[in-house]
């Protein structure tokens, strides 16, 4: 069974358990809350919201690999691989993307020959071992309708240099025992030797 996981946005909530962990992660210091007899923390409505919402700054996530390049229209882009998490049921790819351009520049990430989508279905996790596969995000199909939905992130309408966005995707399972993969983003050099976290 896969572990429930909290992305970087909840790092602020890490302070709720700061006293119980060796690495509570980044986030603002507790702004409130009272300690119960059991050592647990209670919050007011406002305090809890403040813990979760933080100061409103965009996520700045650590990456395990990254690549810089240009999109087909010449716009520079930086892609960081935050994580590749795997278990027997599937693979989660988490990217952070930084640049300064509009949605149309990124459609090469998802385009098929006949149409493009506003999501990242074109990214791949590549198992470079013998007999390995290039894995792409799951899509959703109903009857013979076009596969308009993807188990992956939609592009934002624009990107700004100082406001990185986190984009994730769910892909098919990797073979057990794969420890590193290549992450391929269309139009950019592949990010090699990305460690796989098995859950």
């Amino acid at each position: 069974m896969r572990a429930a996981r909290v992305a970087g946005v909840l790092l602020a909530v890490g302070v709720l358990v700061a006293g119980c962990t060796s690495d509570p992660g980044p986030g603002p210091e507790p702004t409130g809350g009272s300690t119960t007899a059991s050592g647990s923390t209670g919050y007011t409505v406002e305090e809890f919201a403040a813990e979760v919402l933080g100061d409103g700054a965009p996520d700045e996530l650590d990456v395990v690999g990254q690549v810089s390049g240009t999109l087909p229209d010449g716009e520079p882009v930086q892609v960081g691989v935050v994580a590749v998490r795997a278990d027997a049921s599937g693979t989660t790819l988490e990217l952070t993307v930084r640049g300064d351009f509009a949605l149309g520049s990124m459609r090469g990430w998802s385009s098929g020959p006949l149409r493009s989508y506003d999501d990242i279905r074109g990214v791949e996790v590549v198992d470079e071992s013998a007999g390995g596969w290039r894995l792409q995000p799951y899509t959703l199909r109903q009857d013979d309708e076009p596969e308009n939905h993807c188990a992956c992130a939609m592009f934002p309408r624009t990107l700004q240099e100082d406001r990185p966005v986190t984009l994730s995707a769910v892909l098919p399972p990797l073979p057990a025992g794969v420890t590193t993969v290549t992450v391929a983003v269309p139009g950019l050099d592949p990010v090699t030797s990305v460690p796989v976290t098995w859950e």
Binding site: R5, G8, V9
Partner: protein
């Protein structure tokens, strides 16, 4: 270190929170993780037990020029006839105070206005995905229209989905305008309580009365259930495979299987076909349909003949793997079904292909 929590055991039917008798923060260690990174399972907020299953961030209307929205997934709750997902979202103190909640949780044209449809559940194990309920002109979610998000507040909404099949214990949640992913959410039982009358309360005020005054019989749940299609290709990209729980569709690059204008398989073709052949032997049932396609170079008639001959060549190559439970069928479609306009060499190359489609037997 990112924070995470292990999946929680489902509670008994009824209120998941009513089952928790003591209002405390429950700390659970992360599954498979060394060291820290613990996450509270349930947080006491103003005396209300608030499950925290995962978190996400996005931007209003997917516009990064606006303030960051942060949100939580509080529960994926199984009830009779439906599954209810509770989420919250908010803006930090000091953010723009004129952001409407519909810029985060909105509906598409396929849904009634004033409903929430941009949430998806993914069941990786079962190979299904679920979109919010719809049908009968009814709304099966909170009604977010007209609500402005108050900076410094977390607004709670609920969205109803088809009832998840028994045995579905964990799902992924995609939510908001950029389909932010929160993976590995354990499915629990019962609506979250205590109830409050507010349509969209704040986290800690209690939980909205999900499904209250909703006629579930109006829903057409079959319209909200999707097959999850897995996509993979060989590292040399000669073969691309799209697979649902019922069907496999493999597309081969005809430029590798055949020399130009030829219907004789190349030596490389045997290797390319071997994996699909083995899969057919292991799992296929019924017809295995092999279809040849060409680009538009040459006459339509010659392309039709070439595509048929190529399909037959592939059928012959796959025959050793075909047992008695399958029937190999060759079809030529010539240049009639391009996957790309024949206006560039790259596109024409994509159109030169052979597809192999077959049904797979459950559990094999």
């Amino acid at each position: 270190m990112p924070l995470r929590s292990r999946p929680r055991r489902s509670t008994r039917a009824g209120s998941v929170l009513a089952a928790a008798a003591v209002a405390v923060v429950l700390l659970v260690p992360p599954a498979g993780a060394a060291g820290g990174g613990d996450l509270p399972d349930v947080v006491d907020v103003a005396g209300v037990e608030v499950p925290v299953r995962g978190a996400f961030s996005t931007y209003p209307a997917a516009d990064v020029e606006r303030d960051v929205v942060r949100g939580l997934v509080h529960g994926v709750q199984r009830v009779d006839g439906a599954t209810v997902v509770y989420l919250s979202a908010g803006l930090a103190e000091g953010a723009d105070d004129e952001v409407v909640l519909t810029s985060v949780f909105d509906s598409t044209l396929a849904y009634e206005g004033n409903s929430i449809s941009n949430v998806t559940l993914v069941d990786r194990v079962g190979g299904k995905a679920y979109r919010p309920l719809r049908g009968g002109g009814a709304v099966f979610s909170s009604k977010p229209t007209g609500l402005f998000m108050v900076p410094g507040s977390l607004h709670v909404v609920w969205v109803a989905f088809p009832e998840l099949p028994p045995g579905v214990d964990v799902v992924d949640v995609l939510a908001g305008p950029t389909d932010s992913l929160v993976d590995g959410i354990e499915v629990a039982d019962g609506l979250l309580e205590p109830f409050v009358d507010e349509e969209i309360p704040l986290v800690g005020e209690g939980w909205p009365r999900a499904l209250d005054d909703v006629v579930l019989t109006l829903a057409e749940p079959e319209r909200s259930v999707y097959d999850l299609i897995s996509h993979r290709s060989t590292t040399d990209q000669v073969a691309a495979i799209a697979e649902s729980p019922q069907e496999v569709a493999a597309t081969f690059d005809a430029n590798v299987l055949f020399d130009k204008g030829s219907a004789v398989l190349t030596p490389a073709a045997q290797d390319a076909l071997a994996a699909v052949g083995a899969d057919i032997a292991a799992r296929a049932s019924g017809d295995v349909v092999v279809v040849g396609h060409t680009d538009s170079d040459g006459s339509s008639e010659s392309n039709q003949v070439l595509s048929q001959q190529r399909a037959e060549a592939v059928v012959a190559a796959l025959a050793p793997w075909a047992g008695s439970s399958v029937r190999l069928v060759a079809q030529g479609r010539g240049e009639d079904e391009p996957v790309a306009p024949n206006d560039s060499e790259e596109n024409m190359q994509a159109n030169r292909r052979v597809t192999v489609t077959y049904q797979v037997q459950e559990g094999r």
